[in-house]
Subunit: 339 residues, 4 copies
């Protein structure tokens, strides 16, 4: 079978990871084209990955590059426009999270996806493809913890990246939209249900600047799910120990915690501080294998004409929930989530 | 110095623990009298602990026994009446949590305590006396985690006691009043602040009977604190692995988790299940040393005429918060906490 | 029943621990007398523990103090002489490890103990009374790990006490006699067998002074047991993280590790170093409860006329094994252990 | 740069892993040929990996296939013959451990490698390429634990594979040669030194058949290193919990343990057994990434004309040490290791 020809749009930190995976680690795909508004990023993939079809204009790449599919790793605000162009041009689409930055454009994306039922649309919630999360889901499905009824999700960025977070804060949409959307996806995935109400708080003890932007350094939210389940989110930006992603699924017969100690690797140190486990320092380090896996699954879906598990509707719902959470935090009140 | 003479009221499971500690492990106290409405409990302390002054009537013990202080381990509904009688009779008082079962009696208890400023009144929130919690508080005070701004408290009873929980549920006051009050105390202690709003949920997936009693099998609550801090509580009754009490204190420079693995002891098993840490099975097992320590501190407070750290007002506030939490759960709305 | 009247000989660091336990925490014993060659130690127990019968001469205490039993916590070289005097005077004896410093005096001690079969002789291998070790033994006896065939014992003193270790080294008898004797006892206990050959090494990388005393900073020994089982010992003095006592019992169906993380308590820190468990810093901290438990068991043995599990022969054998281990290290050859 | 053309010899369990890595995950290599004496293995790589040049005769593959290098994954007894043929034909060689099954053939292999200094010879001690071992080595080199002076290596196969182990035992060369050779390599690597004496034991408590083959179910060995360092090996075949590879490096300022809990992934279960970490079940699962990494490094060494860190002399020395260890176990005496 011929490898799938893919073009990539967006060559930032995550874009480079996907580009390198497509070139080096996904045997049934070929990265044929790349697009970025930054010339030095194009030079980079030309030189290091041998990509020859280079574009500074997204629409032009879609029109003229030799490719069957596109990986959209552009800024969040462009996702919906880019996926629309691609689908309408007959391309399969891998799209980074979030689906969109307004509900309206998410709803529009749904219509575009619906209009092209034979093209794969894949939304990059990579955590679902992490080996530990996949194992946890298998165990949940096998009944190992009985009926799951509570998901407690924690996502905290490393303190060492705080300067970047502060700089990005005024335009990020806020911590619940920018960061917690992954946790929202996990809650929905493990509970197989949607929340109907949310109450959310935020604090900015270390860096009050976040509050001044209408955002929060740390957020805590509590969700009631339609079938009576519950979810909690603790999201933040100031983990001294590293990049902390932890999820607990509580069921009637037991519970599973994924990564309560976000270890860098299997080495444990016995030193003057005590017994020390060093931690992962960033999302590319933690989810390196998951980023590869999700793209591999996307490629396989296209080549084998199968449907991805994650749908465009998941993207819309996560965005709706993130907006409702943000509203609850900003208005200080309980919010009924509208779908 | 002469040992402190103490009488004990209530000889149930926890009463027996306190009685035995007073007789065997607290050298500067003497258990001189005991009261219970159950003759077999009195027989027990007579036979095994050598207590000679035995009463079935609390007031009579207070009036006539040779004692300077009383340990009140009676049913929650009697705490306020019993502490009032004792204080008015000039006795020092150790009182099990909760302070009372209505706000009114708590407020009354405050007045009685205020009227006897030279007598020690000590409220038994034993978790504060656990070595790990004390160490965590020392670390917090030393600045090890910067400014604490979030406390995440978990308290789950073992599944193996579910029958007792079901039986007790109709009269327990509900999970937030009966169980979460300890977690409420810990949040207040570590944040050194009071919450002003609460939103609480509950579910009863394994044992829907709890819902039918107006109670919940598992509860999740989110608190906003006056100074902007946050607290979460996850309380339940169905831990398959044992008795799970875990508290995380999150600060601007780090965090502390107390007992994420509620280990029975230091033995770790490598067997067909994997690497297994067996867990503590009950509150007496987990807090054995804390029950001893709190009573020792009470005795020392009396003999050295020092003030306990925990006050009657802490008791009232915890009760007020527990009531507000229950109200939020029952009414499905955000509740402003009244003090 | 009347409490057992005990005198204590030796009031150093460990002696004080036993004295305080006897006064405050063992209800069926009374510490009636104390002996030390240091006046300030006698003053200490007089003032803080209220002991009235004070002696600078051991024999005089045995002759004249009002006591049924003696706790011998004197220097190792005096253990055999002191236990002989006591047993011959009709006293029950609790004796700190080691039984003696030569095989000859151990053999002599055996004879003295045999000559007084109605008096309790109790040897203080406290690790056997630690809750985790007791639990492990219960599990082993219940068949949880099948047939145990290998014990791996680790005992490392904290680096912070290295100055004391260096000072004590020239007269300590060497690391295998001074420290590893506890590990030897544990190997014998869990395998229920005696080793017949040993090969031992030593190194002194951090503090070569140990080598110049004919001792080793760190020792590793490998034992073959009579029934075909095996044992390993890793003993040292330079644990940066604290006081490290770890024992693994390997059986045909699983294994048990006791304290691979020698945690100070249940608090776990998430900070700039990673996820950190602080460690116990000394033997009194690690074995606080075991020191109390062993003395309680001794008192109960006397009062209930039961035999202690540990015998004088255990003391001799451990000493014989420690000597053979030392010989192997010093001579660089395999040693057959003589009993 | 053109990808390296590689042929593979041996398509068993591990051979298939290497073949698949070469085809799918190593972008600068191409698997052009494959050799196996089993037709169905050749059919497999033809069908699933698209390999076209297939051989049942090794020498013929070397002579006629279009390849610059060969990966030798054949049975241990053929390694030396196969590497000789390949080197003499001008091919670069990746050779699975062990180098050879007799010292003589190892010495011969050294000469052949020396005679072809411009061809890469790479020995597959994959553990050195595991991310955790590499991180540990970096830390050691950075001085994090001071001067390393003791390595404690544990390698235990899963009990579930015991039938295969029993079947293979009569011809395996024994547990020290078949299994411990990896641990021997790690000791030498971390201590940067060679042992000069060894004492080794063995037991066969669960499966006495091993003893009847002159082998042992479990082995324990103690090594003295030339510069005074020490090493211990615990190797076995009956880990109930899974595949247990653990290594501790002890230095003057701290120590590192690699994988004391051989976790399957980051999920932790709280269930009726306690807090449970499931474990990896096999060497392909544990060292999946290391097998890929070592082959990638081999390819890079060839393409960039750099020397591998592991040399043919490492292979000889590990074999010499494994033989001496076996001799010590069989003869029950201390053995001086000859190089």
């Amino acid at each position: 079978m011929e490898p799938l020809k893919i073009g990539i749009a967006g060559l930032g930190r995550l874009g480079k990871i996907h580009a390198e995976n497509l070139v080096k680690r996904i045997p049934n795909a070929t990265l044929t084209a790349a697009c970025s508004i930054l010339q030095h990023e194009l030079d980079f993939v030309s030189k290091h990955l041998g990509i020859k079809q280079l574009y500074t204009d997204y629409d032009e790449m879609i029109r003229s590059a030799d490719m069957d599919a596109v990986a959209i790793i552009t800024t969040s605000g462009m996702h919906c426009a880019h996926l629309t162009t691609a689908l309408e041009a007959g391309k399969h689409v891998f799209c980074e999270k979030p689906l969109g930055v307004t509900i309206e454009e998410c709803k529009h994306a749904e219509k575009v996806v619906e209009a092209h039922p034979n093209q794969v649309f894949f939304l990059g919630f990579m955590r679902r493809f992490d080996a530990s999360y996949q194992y946890a889901m298998e165990k949940v499905k096998s009944g190992a913890i009985g009926q799951p009824y509570l998901v407690k999700a924690v996502g905290i960025d490393p303190l060492k990246y705080i300067e970047g977070a502060l700089k990005f804060a005024p335009t990020s949409g806020g911590i619940y939209i920018d960061m917690a959307i992954h946790d929202i996806d996990l809650m929905r995935w493990f509970l197989n249900d949607d929340p109907d109400t949310v109450y959310a708080l935020g604090s900015s003890y270390g860096y009050p600047e976040f509050a001044s932007f209408g955002d929060a350094e740390t957020g805590c939210a509590l969700y009631h799910f339609k079938n009576g389940g519950m979810g909690t989110i603790h999201t933040g930006r100031t983990a001294a120990h590293g990049y902390h992603i932890e999820t607990e699924i509580v069921g009637t017969k037991g519970s599973i915690r994924i990564s309560p100690v976000p270890q860098k690797n299997l080495a444990v140190f016995y030193n003057e501080h005590g017994v020390v486990t060093e931690c992962v320092g960033s999302f590319p380090e933690r989810f390196e294998a998951a980023y590869l896996k999700e793209m591999q699954v996307f490629v396989d879906c296209v080549l084998q004409a199968t449907k991805p598990e994650i749908s465009v509707y998941d993207g819309t719902r996560c965005t709706q929930i993130a907006f409702a959470t943000t509203q609850s935090y900003k208005e200080g009140k309980l919010v009924n989530i509208q779908y």
